[in-house]
């Protein structure tokens, strides 16, 4: 069993603050972190490797310094790591990102399962996983809250959808996107940290993947961001003070407003 986990380095959006005077984002000192959702993807891969044997290879596409999230994943338990990095990959939207990651999975060759996080906290699209599946022409199971079994060349998983749980079985190889419900990620181990420090991480660029620059990075991206603005915040909220009785009366008015009128 060889499981590939795609992880992304993201700015820690939790650390982003809004400059109240200028209404812009303050990004100074915002650290880059491993996308929180991807920790669950990694943990799910480790669990099944530990049970079935095999290896977990962690992959990221990003700038050279994205290597740090790979080392973090290795410290948690990944066996191998692969950095997909090239100037030609910059500006990629989910189409170009998934196209490039799929080419890497194809080049790796013997991957049975690709796991991604549900979404990345910078773009928040949740599109990369299913797009990788489309590129590879593999089946997919998205929004997986629980993997029930992996056996006989099939994966059985629970998709958490609106109104309930769908129990889905898919042939392997397949792509799965993982929700936070699936597991509790392990912490880096001492042995893992040692390994992470020493591991040689190969970098594959556009030539290694045999891709055309027209299908990668910004050139290969059908979508483009044209403007970015800060959302309006309603600082003009109504504030209520008073005794609990007074406040309760006002609140009841608000809650029953439509009912009573």
């Amino acid at each position: 069993m060889r499981i590939a986990v795609a992880v992304k380095q993201v700015p820690d959006t939790a650390e982003v603050r809004i400059d109240p005077e200028r209404g812009t984002l303050i990004r100074e000192g915002v650290p880059s972190i491993l996308n929180p959702f991807d920790e669950y993807a990694l943990e799910e891969a480790f669990r099944w490797r530990d049970e079935l044997g095999g290896t977990v290879v962690v992959i990221t596409m990003g700038p050279p310094w994205a290597e740090s999230v790979l080392r973090e994943a290795v410290a948690m338990g990944a066996d191998e790591a692969l950095l997909i990095s090239d100037r030609a990959f910059a500006g990629a939207d989910t189409w170009a990102t998934s196209h490039t990651l799929a080419a890497a999975v194809t080049k790796l060759g013997d991957v049975d399962l690709v796991i991604t996080g549900k979404q990345a906290i910078d773009g928040d699209t949740a599109q990369t996983g299913p797009s990788i599946a489309a590129s590879l022409d593999w089946p997919q199971i998205t929004f997986v809250g629980k993997v029930r079994s992996i056996e006989d060349g099939h994966i059985l998983a629970e998709r958490y959808v609106e109104g309930g749980i769908e129990v889905v079985r898919s042939s392997l190889p397949a792509v799965v996107t993982i929700l936070k419900d699936a597991n509790t990620p392990r912490l880096p181990s001492l042995r893992g940290k040692m390994k992470a420090r020493k591991l040689e991480i190969p970098t594959w660029g556009i030539d290694d993947l045999g891709l055309d620059p027209a299908e990668t990075g910004l050139d290969g991206s059908p979508t483009r961001v044209v403007t970015i603005s800060t959302p309006e915040t309603s600082s003009d909220g109504e504030m209520h003070r008073g005794t609990p009785e007074e406040l309760a009366a006002v609140l009841a008015d608000l809650l029953l407003g439509e009912e009573e009128s």
Binding site: D122, L156, S235, M239, P244
Partner: protein, 397 residues
């Protein structure tokens, strides 16, 4: 290869691009914007520059003839032969967009038995409804839906394709967009057709809701978007509206799938999907323990609401994870969100800030929630909530 350049002769050193960069890689040196190699080519700075001094060059080899594409297509979502409300919202939005540029609205309905839904989709704004019926289409399944909808798009050539940003839409649309080599914008909250270019301006929250990004797909068609449920408005059904229903039978092999659904386990009685509620009563660390959640449940019961929670109360084990709202929980946008004893940390805020009305009860006047709520109550929730419950009961009796 794509590149970014600051034109030295045009840059006036105003610095407007510095805060516009979401990655913080632009600095000012000697009155000139300097963009470091860490640039992701996201394009935010280019649009922030009033002087046209920042230029991103893109090499686009083959161009698609976008003039061949027209019309707005809505993918209907159904479970057990009942079409989801989000579809009606999308039809309302599609109608508005189509009327703004004189195009038609198409709806695609894949189901085992369409019942009277085609006519109802017309009443809600569709001009033509494409219907594919087959027993295999009772439930959404990625591969058959991808294949059939992809062929519909290739034959009908709509300029825009919309689906709801539900687990179905977000599973299906990326697959279609990748196959058709076109762009897809996730979870949009605002759509406008630009009169000049005819491009769809797709606006959506990103960076955990910290920014709104407007995205276009200028060179390929269709322009695909998933749209956040409950944001767009459905039209009042108009029985007088005329429309056409077109059978679109599945072709050989299109119903094949490598995945199968073994069973569907509906939420149990009492369990609710909080994303589908009009009112959410949500509790945070201020609720103090699990038994106190009964207070929130009682209020929720009176209001036909569901109960939400911050991560702090989920982590404390007071309420299970499916109730968590926020960055690592659910994104909700009910008509009314009542935050009780929640401080309003950014990770919580991003999951609920698009609610129509946010009511906050908190005893700390400086809690961040008061900076963005619509109605703030400064006080102790243990004093206020029982009185509100009493008051509601009294007024109703």
């Amino acid at each position: 290869m794509a590149s970014i350049e600051v034109r030295k002769d045009t840059c006036v050193g105003c610095g407007a691009c510095v805060p516009a960069c979401p990655y913080g890689v632009i600095s000012m040196e000697d009155g000139l914007a300097i963009i470091s190699d860490e640039c992701y080519l996201c394009g935010a700075c280019e649009s922030s520059c009033s002087f046209g001094a920042i230029i991103i060059r893109q090499d686009k080899s083959e161009k698609v003839d976008i003039s061949e594409y027209s019309g707005i297509m809505v993918l209907a979502e159904q479970r057990d032969r009942v079409v989801d409300h989000s579809t009606l919202e999308l039809l309302g939005e599609a109608r508005r967009l189509a009327d703004s540029c004189g195009q038609e609205v198409l709806a695609a309905l894949l189901t085992s038995d369409c019942g009277d839904w085609p006519a109802r989709l017309v009443e809600h704004g569709a001009d033509r409804v494409l219907v594919t019926s087959a027993a295999e289409l009772t439930h959404f399944r990625t591969e058959p839906f991808t294949q059939i909808v992809s062929r519909m798009i290739e034959e009908m050539r709509p300029a825009v394709v919309l689906a709801a940003a539900t687990t179905t839409g977000r599973d299906l649309m990326p697959r279609i967009a990748k196959n058709l080599n076109t762009g897809l914008t996730a979870d949009c909250t605002e759509l406008v057709i630009d009169g000049e270019s005819g491009n769809l301006m797709q606006t959506r929250p990103a960076f955990g809701g910290n920014i709104m990004a407007t995205i276009v797909c200028a060179d390929t068609r269709p322009q695909m978007a998933t749209v956040r449920p409950r944001v767009m408005k459905a039209l009042e059904p108009d029985p007088a509206r005329a429309g056409e229903v077109v059978e679109f039978p599945a072709a050989h092999g299109e119903l094949d799938s490598r995945t199968e659904i073994l069973e569907f386990l509906p939420l149990e009685e009492g369990e609710v999907d909080i994303t589908e509620s009009d009112i959410i009563v949500s509790g945070g660390r201020g609720v103090k323990d699990s038994t106190n959640f009964a207070l929130l449940e009682e209020l929720a019961g009176l209001l036909d609401a569901s109960v939400g929670a911050s991560r702090a109360s989920v982590d404390a084990g007071w309420i299970p994870y499916p109730h968590q709202v926020g960055q690592t929980g659910k994104t909700v946008n009910p008509k009314t969100y009542i935050a009780c004893g929640i401080s309003g940390a950014i990770q919580h805020r991003v999951g609920m800030q698009s609610s129509d009305r946010i009511i906050a009860i908190n005893k700390d006047e400086t809690a961040p929630i008061f900076e963005f709520c619509h109605e703030g109550f400064i006080g102790d929730l243990f004093e206020i909530l029982p009185l509100v419950i009493k008051e509601i009961k009294k007024r109703r009796s």
